[in-house]
């Protein structure tokens, strides 16, 4: 089977089981069961479903924070299973995730500028000074004011922290950005602001989004495709031609 042109990511028959307990009490939880979906480049897929339906597990498998037990994930025409260690590190650049609780994902000891330039440092991008300049640009692009770069996470508001986490995820110019309910802790007007920001960024960077959400109302304005999970299985899949 060949990958259609324009398909950025494809998950084929992905299954993941978490084993709880010990060798004597085998009670596994089937978090993902034969999930197949694909995301076109610069499009948005909304993943919905109740708690425990496997949304986050799928996101973590795609972001390579977990390995699926069965099935394959293809990114840009290559199977993730075939990557070498070095190639894997490079691939990390392409897929970034904004975690469920953006505030907790920020190192409290570091300033905003340091937090944003850390992924660049990890990927050995530029030198110290170039990274700093880049981090200022990124912070500005998500609408943080010029005091923010030198502040630490606990000195920022919740909305500012969400923007900071977003700026950090954008630092490596990924082609797929996973938002794991990253907005659900914010109030409505802030959510709307950030969604507008995401739509703008999609146009500039040709980003594809995988948005995980509890309710559709939030992301309805920007999705091309909705996938609903229930107990690890896809129960609904809809496309919205735009």
């Amino acid at each position: 089977m060949t990958i259609r042109s324009g398909t950025l990511l494809e998950a084929r028959n992905v299954s993941k089981t978490f084993t709880r307990g010990r060798w004597y009490s085998d009670c596994g939880v089937r978090a993902l069961d034969n999930v197949t979906l694909s995301i076109q480049s610069s499009s948005t897929l909304a993943l919905v479903g109740s708690s425990g339906s496997g949304k986050s597990t799928l996101a973590r498998c795609i972001a390579q924070l977990e390995k699926p037990d069965l099935g394959e994930i293809w990114f840009d025409g290559r199977s993730l299973a075939n990557f070498t260690q070095a190639g894997f590190r490079h691939l990390r650049k392409e897929i970034q995730i904004v975690p469920q609780d953006p505030s907790a994902s920020l190192n409290p000891r570091w300033t905003a500028a340091e937090i944003v330039s850390e992924p660049l440092r990890v990927q050995r991008w530029g030198n110290e000074k170039k990274r700093y300049v880049r981090s200022l640009e990124l912070l500005e692009s998500v609408g943080l004011d010029n005091r923010a770069p030198h502040q630490r996470p606990y000195q920022l508001s919740g909305g500012q922290r969400a923007r900071l986490a977003l700026a950090r995820a954008l630092a490596l110019e990924p082609r797929l950005l996973i938002l794991d309910e990253s907005l659900s802790s914010l109030d409505l007007s802030l959510q709307a602001q950030i969604i507008n920001l995401l739509i703008d960024l999609q146009a500039t960077y040709e980003l594809a989004y995988l948005v995980i959400a509890h309710d559709m109302t939030l992301v309805a304005s920007m999705t091309d495709q909705v996938v609903e999970l229930c107990k690890g299985r896809i129960v609904r899949q809809e496309f919205f031609p735009c």
Binding site: Q96, I97, Q123
Partner: protein, 301 residues
Amino acid sequence: MLKRFLLRRMIHTLLLLLSVSGGSFLLLELAPGNFLTEAKLNPQLSPQTLAALHDRLGLDRSLPERYLYWLKSATQGDFGISFAYNMPVSVLIWPRMRSTLLLTATSLGLAWSIALPLGVWAAARKGSSLDRLLVLLTSGLLSIPELVLACGLLIVAAKTAWLRIGGLPLAVCVLAPASLPLLLRHIRAGVLTASGASYVRAARAHGISEGRLWFRHVLPAASHSLISLFGLSVAGLLSSSLLVEVVVGWPGLGPLFLEAVAARDFYIVAGVVFLSANFLAVGNLLADLLLYYGDPRIRMT
């Protein structure tokens, strides 16, 4: 900011020292008998001599009076006179204090230099069979009382020529393993908590190498609990060294203290308690300062 933080910690420390010294005076006074209780049973001493001694030792004055007088001279480094040795307490205590410090510092250094790498290593391999073995071993070591360990090593020392009784290696061999399991467990738990932090996972998603992840994210995050643990381990080691010194015959504060308590040698007991409290207070102050520099969040509060 630092000035206010320091000032507050200093005031805490002063209050602590005052209450420790006051408490030790009160407890010593409440204990039955005094230095002359045994002398009274001696028929060769006349009541006149005893009364004169009683006056000379200052036992006729009231407790608050004695305490305030002691406090005043203690601030000038004079901790009173030992009844039994008829020598200034400070002259008796200093060399002993030095050897106790030598013992605790060596044991502390040894215990930490084993526990820290091993704890981090076990945390990084959580759930592996080696980690489980380590947990099992520490439980085993934890359940051996220091005294049993000391006696066991004394037997070894007596039967072989490996360890000299009353020597530093023997005392360290008792103290370091005694504090090791608790340290190891706390370090492992602290590092595990830190490595589960959401921002450590976020760093993984950037493609960070494992080594950098540990040194840049996990260890700084764990440093808070590790520094607090360091302060606590100093306190624990100091108190257990008093007992161990007596058993293994190390000429530290322990034997002096025990003897003084038995003889009701008032000012030696008060002096040892006060100096130990000072030692701990300085240790805690240092730990607080380290925390202040290590964690920007503390600077805010």
